[in-house]
Chain length 83, copies 2
């Protein structure tokens, strides 16, 4: 069993108005100057697999088909733990 | 300038029906057996600060006041880069 994390976020070329709005709100808190805000989602899950490579392959297939809209988003798979 | 990442996700005690629905969909793809799905958001941003400690303090203050609903969510600040 492997625990993986998949990060999903907009591609650089995609404008993210939500990030701009949040950047404005963050700066209005006057806690410190903030810039280049980028927002994304992450999915943690366990994968039943024999090897790390197999676990990553399963995570990538699931990301391609379900977790990321590959037209606008990119994803990154990270292996968190082997348990 | 420091680049930080803030992870925000539901506290363990909070039921996340969306994660359960996605877990079902992931398993129906028949790519591999998946379990313990957890979903969260992450925010990447640059903070103008003199020291790492100051950058993390700013990020924590912004997380407390804006990025996380501290009643239901917990957050984690990670320092990505010093640039």
């Amino acid at each position: 069993m492997f625990k993986v994390r998949v990060y999903v976020s907009y591609k650089e070329s995609v404008l993210d108005p939500q990030a701009e709005v949040i950047e404005g709100a963050m700066n209005r808190l006057n806690q410190g100057e903030v810039s280049q805000v980028k927002i994304g989602k992450f999915f943690d899950f366990n994968v039943k697999a024999e090897t790390k490579e197999e676990a990553i392959k399963v995570a990538e297939a699931i990301s391609d088909q379900l977790l990321a809209n590959v037209n606008m988003e990119s994803y990154q798979v990270e292996l968190l733990e082997e348990n």
